[in-house]
Symmetry: D2
Subunit: 502 residues, 4 copies
Amino acid sequence: MNGNAIRGTSDMNESTVSAHSELDSDGDRLREHCGVFGVFGHPDAAALVALGLHALQHRGQEAAGIVSFDGRRFNSERRLGLVGDHFSDARIIERLAGHAAIGHNRYSTTGGTILRNVQPLFAELDGGGFAVGHNGNLTNALTLRRQLVREGAICQSTSDTEVILHLVARSTRPRLVDRFIEALRQLEGAYSLVALTNKKLIGARDPLGIRPLVLGDLNGTPILASETCALDIIGARHVRDVENGEIVVISKDGVESLKPFPPQRARPCIFEHIYFARPDSIVGGHSVYEVRKRMGIELAREAPAGADVIVPVPDSGVPAAIGYSQASGVPFELGIIRNHYVGRTFIEPTQQIRQLGVKLKHNVNRSQVAGKSVVLIDDSIVRGTTSVKIVQMVREAGAREVHMRVASPPITHPDFYGIDTPDQENLLAATRDLDAMREFIGCDSLAFLSVDGIYRAMGHERRDPVHPQYTDHCFTGDYPTALTDRSSRSEPLQLSLLAEAG
Amino acid sequence: MNGNAIRGTSDMNESTVSAHSELDSDGDRLREHCGVFGVFGHPDAAALVALGLHALQHRGQEAAGIVSFDGRRFNSERRLGLVGDHFSDARIIERLAGHAAIGHNRYSTTGGTILRNVQPLFAELDGGGFAVGHNGNLTNALTLRRQLVREGAICQSTSDTEVILHLVARSTRPRLVDRFIEALRQLEGAYSLVALTNKKLIGARDPLGIRPLVLGDLNGTPILASETCALDIIGARHVRDVENGEIVVISKDGVESLKPFPPQRARPCIFEHIYFARPDSIVGGHSVYEVRKRMGIELAREAPAGADVIVPVPDSGVPAAIGYSQASGVPFELGIIRNHYVGRTFIEPTQQIRQLGVKLKHNVNRSQVAGKSVVLIDDSIVRGTTSVKIVQMVREAGAREVHMRVASPPITHPDFYGIDTPDQENLLAATRDLDAMREFIGCDSLAFLSVDGIYRAMGHERRDPVHPQYTDHCFTGDYPTALTDRSSRSEPLQLSLLAEAG
Amino acid sequence: MNGNAIRGTSDMNESTVSAHSELDSDGDRLREHCGVFGVFGHPDAAALVALGLHALQHRGQEAAGIVSFDGRRFNSERRLGLVGDHFSDARIIERLAGHAAIGHNRYSTTGGTILRNVQPLFAELDGGGFAVGHNGNLTNALTLRRQLVREGAICQSTSDTEVILHLVARSTRPRLVDRFIEALRQLEGAYSLVALTNKKLIGARDPLGIRPLVLGDLNGTPILASETCALDIIGARHVRDVENGEIVVISKDGVESLKPFPPQRARPCIFEHIYFARPDSIVGGHSVYEVRKRMGIELAREAPAGADVIVPVPDSGVPAAIGYSQASGVPFELGIIRNHYVGRTFIEPTQQIRQLGVKLKHNVNRSQVAGKSVVLIDDSIVRGTTSVKIVQMVREAGAREVHMRVASPPITHPDFYGIDTPDQENLLAATRDLDAMREFIGCDSLAFLSVDGIYRAMGHERRDPVHPQYTDHCFTGDYPTALTDRSSRSEPLQLSLLAEAG
Amino acid sequence: MNGNAIRGTSDMNESTVSAHSELDSDGDRLREHCGVFGVFGHPDAAALVALGLHALQHRGQEAAGIVSFDGRRFNSERRLGLVGDHFSDARIIERLAGHAAIGHNRYSTTGGTILRNVQPLFAELDGGGFAVGHNGNLTNALTLRRQLVREGAICQSTSDTEVILHLVARSTRPRLVDRFIEALRQLEGAYSLVALTNKKLIGARDPLGIRPLVLGDLNGTPILASETCALDIIGARHVRDVENGEIVVISKDGVESLKPFPPQRARPCIFEHIYFARPDSIVGGHSVYEVRKRMGIELAREAPAGADVIVPVPDSGVPAAIGYSQASGVPFELGIIRNHYVGRTFIEPTQQIRQLGVKLKHNVNRSQVAGKSVVLIDDSIVRGTTSVKIVQMVREAGAREVHMRVASPPITHPDFYGIDTPDQENLLAATRDLDAMREFIGCDSLAFLSVDGIYRAMGHERRDPVHPQYTDHCFTGDYPTALTDRSSRSEPLQLSLLAEAG
């Protein structure tokens, strides 16, 4: 879920909780929006969800929530902060009684957040409770919301996910699953959903399968998760991916698969492979680590660099750098050390201090770069501001030459499917050619992996221009769905009260 | 607002904030449910509301909230705790920018509370924002809620007040005031409301005027308040009471009065005079202190007691005791001292300690009772458990005789209009005759003021049995409205998630 | 304990917790500094101490602490806030295991406080642990502290009480009781102490017995307390007052009385009777309520006022007003209503609001004063600022005449024995004659009780000028001890770190 | 500082803040005890200290504190938690005014901690304030403390560092620096200290230089820091290491070097190189990263393993694994992925869940180990419990063979100089020979680097048995100082109250 367009209107009077770090404050990172997890039929359902969310923490650090059903009631606990900050507490898990539960991780933004938007969202419908957690972003949420308010709906969050609840609530179909499907038919954009009723756990993936969702099994207990690493943490088996356009309905009668949409070819988001998914996950049948190494290998072929040492920009550049090193024979060294404590807490040094060029997050390992020709490997470049700092830092530590190699193509278009990208004018590659980018970054040479290069790393010969195998609009501008809100944006709803701290 | 019936279903899995004190833990007190306050057209609107709520603190100690409108947005701050705990903070008041604001105090319950129920409630309607604060209780809220959910509404609180919002949201009338009136027409029970739109401040009192609401003026700024003491705190003038069935619409064009209901005689709640209102307030044209003194005078006439000393049960018995003393000529002394610090914080002594008969809240002033014949004056008796303790305490301090005189009639019926009463079987007077009550309490004699006695203290010759001048069902069983929820109570809605701590 | 002189030097960089209310922010109240309580030989020792401190809450609202000894270890819990805020929590009481415990209440100041100063203070001495709680103030604490630091002592608080610990620690006497006595011999000023060792509970009262201390008995368990109301709360019997200059040593062998000082006549502080002690306490054999009523009776005799109504300034003026009313035959009415919620939380209205003359704490009960000649009864006048507001408020409510009668003499000198008084230049009576005071306050007539009047109310014929029966320097300038720090004040110690928030 | 021996006695009734993670809960990690940092003569002294402490966060995650001197007063802020949790807040930095400041990081323990022990500690001495922060551990702290208490000292912490303060306070030398030296002469064990007076910043390193301390320069501002990475973060230049037995006195007159101890050869702790220091630091002239890589290279020579892949145990095994891979030619792959979010927050899964073998901290990257012969590289083995889990995890992921190679010798003896080691009986290598260790761990082969191997990696031919170049008792049992407390341990002091939460 996202609701960027909506939230934008209410930033001014939010009492927010914000956290950002040195480099992130530049917004020079793409961010995944969410992770979801669900369990059906296990006495420790909520504890398993907590562990699953913990393994999916990289998909959202802002907030987390779990809803369980205990046979009589739904129980919900939602909190700002990391999963481990709250859901490691046995008292909270005890409040989440029941054999079925779903959970959700929310991403961390420089803007702010409010508890009311933390998922899973819940509504008491005629016929029983309904909870839902959403990974993705709807491209017609604002349009749908306007229509709903016009009909007398009262929204309590600024989340696009709440729209789904209202659509389900208003459906007149008798069965809850049918009401859910009727709601989904009205959605546009990307969504991987987990939903919980008093009888069922439901998983759903949008018709293109843009965001991931997998089905697992823990000694007979069905599990839904955004990534396989969340199955690994509890020792569950990876059964299969939920397919694009598939709805998986899990009840005491087993796992049922529905395909209510017209068949389409899947187009999963390529960024899960390049950047978001954990390297130990298997996404769409591919080892994420292996794919990233292959991107490094492709990059070494497309853009070799005679140099003394291969240095990854930590941590996300490491697998590509290992691949690049193995393909080129140039040694791999940790020439940049990352301070893991900086994560989400250190805010801003004092104004006067800032000009010292404080290195809160990264420091150069001088012994590995001084006097050397260095190849820096990064997974992607967004605004480029981090790259500027890194290159400067490496030069100041005495590197003779600094070559930048990027294991993905230039990002030229923003995302609307659940990745937090800056506006287009702030994307380095949207406004500059390669040489201008090199000059901006200040490196001696700069090269990106080609679009076909990432397709090769994924095992394809090339990108199929007619039926592209992946959602790759950030590199190509080829958006796979309509963008209704974007084309019709007019007066925003006020929604100010939803900004309240509570 | 109350929603007792509703809340009852979700108590079990609430994460609650509760506070109760020694005697209150017996539930041996009636409690007012709420206070409301509104300001239109003053640069310090929210600060004035905070002060008004502070003066109305006796009407609700559980939580407080303020919503303001600043010309562009609505701003809301709602908090658990006393008004002064949060709304004395300049930073909170600054967040409540705007020239119009409404506020609400919520009562303290032994059960628990959740932030989501704290008022004013707000909704973004088609046509603009709408906030409402409610003092009273609807007797058909659950019935209306069921109907709304059946039609696809999603409720976010367990408060009966939210029903009003949904009814307004669903009305198809073009003007917001008309939608509000259409909503009110569907309500049954007691309500004094303040509502805020982006153009207007609205006050409304139910057709019988059960709960109070007054109109004030601060140098030209219109004010709405539950009691005149809230006008006094800011130096505002008491203009008049809002009438029963009247809707007052305040805008930049002035104060407009609407009377959309069929005319009825007012029947304000007599308990405001007996117990709830502050002694320095003027309610329905009567000084509350003066009325209570007159109840003491009537009581001295109806039930004299030859004794050495008149001792009030502090603090609420004091005015009646002064009246009783003046009428009887027996000296008034503070024979029982109340520890004001106990208010809302001291919970429970250890189990072992309890048998010591710990006197957390009251202590006898031994020098005034030892060896004397004592008349204890209390304003009312609910369960009687407090009276038992007080009488025993006074005896142990050496009183020769203890006579109990109560300045209101026996309470035989529960309330459903915004007073928190125990179930009928727990009302002392519902199950016992006078002698059994005297025996239960352990006093040497016991007498209550008659029903006609309170009417005489109010300036009437007697209660008019055809058109009673006051809502007095607690003494008479004569409920002035239908009690729809009560007669139709069936399956409660689940509503469990609304119990969530957040 | 106090340490005013010391604290003064470190105010600037304290991170403080402060709380003050409308009228108190003027400092127009005298404040008692502390209450102490001790129990020896009861399985619920800490719970009993918590209850005792709760009954003594009026003697200090800033902080509270309890130290227990469980046979092996000392346990301590100290907290900012009211007793009931923390020590009503069973988990905290459980941490205070043991059959012996002492506790301490600290007063609330407009300045600030830090946890490190909260008592009882504890030190691990050679020979075992030693905890002490102090009510009073030493007049040579700063002088002693300078000497101790010169000898290598490291102080951790700004409290004068810590000096006692260091003196005990440095004594070379073999028995702890003897070391304690050796320490006491070096002290000057007022102190009522409770101390706890691994074998004994000790109570001590300074040679003049300035601050109160009583010995009680709960079914064989000895109790020490500042006032008898703290015995009443747990149902303990009042055995006797600890005498001036007496040290009471309680161990498993019983209660031993030591008198290590040269015999002197007692001179207890008269202000306990006038203002500080709870009206239900018996201090020095006198009912506090009865004494205050007699002060009102004396006042009616010395300064009658032909008027329509006697109105107490709540709450402390009530007993004197009852006495004045009974002696004069003029009716007693609650013409001023106090908002009890204001107590410790409501801070400051916005600047713009202040000029409205906001009535946070008191409101006039208009029906009782309008058109009448009113006699206001207060217990004392300090700065007079409150009186100004009250008189103005009563006039604005329509009183025809306002006469002020004060049930104690004019306060002309500050205190150094544990009462928080303003500097002398801020005492109304120190700089003005009676007529100037009347004009300042704005009343139609003003009268104080004479010094001999309070002695008569205490049962004496008059003040004995050679051996005054009470410590009464606030009215007479007759300080009963040397004031070493005051005469030698030079460079303050820095002590800044002690101001740290932690 | 440590105070292990002391703290041990007061664990039972501490109200503690504890945090530990899955593997750390086994205590299967060595922990550095502290980091120190000091600045003299910079307008942003406290902000620079905060940044320095942030770069030293790996040396202590439990608590942090800063003391500044502003020309008039000392200011102190000490907090539990990470540096960035509190000292990134501009308001806290503003409270730490002044041009000179020192700071301290404290390690995280499974036991607990209390604010009173958080450093720098401060005392107001005769002659002025004195603050000190300590990295290391004294081996005669308890003995000294007993002597001090016997002489009347009152200790307020359980920290061995407080002993230093008392020794300085009691010294009768006229100059503060001389009193400090007199205090140091009485100490035994390891210490790198930073101290602050109202005129000077002082750094001191024990006679053997066991713990590190470096001198830096920021455009003329002298800096003291535990490691060079803390100079890098603010762009300061590394001037030189403070020498063993050297005291560096920094004042407005510049940097003065004192050598008050008899000259000795330095014997720095080898564990800084093996495990504690950040890889980007230069310690004793050696690049930490480079040394660790060389340890991997030596290990590959001493204990080769024919295998398919080299997998580091993250994160500390990475540099050695890179060295091992480069020396052996076997490819380096990230076969184990660490969840960085687990750090300090996730506590314990529910009991029932634990048997699932939950992988909170590490997950195997199955694609890199399935079907392969794997060499796992770790930096050290303490208890071995982590190794057991890792090996099992790798086997379950389908590895054909698992060989464990450890880039340091077997740890057979506990540390008493500031490293948190388990008791000797819990050290895997103290009780088992190589084969028993291999069997315990469950790997196919196991090898450690030899003692001479680490000396070779440090650039020496071998360990000098007469004058060993490093403190290496954990591997050799050769403790470089007396262990007075250990040999004389008798009755512990009670110190229980110091365990209080506040």
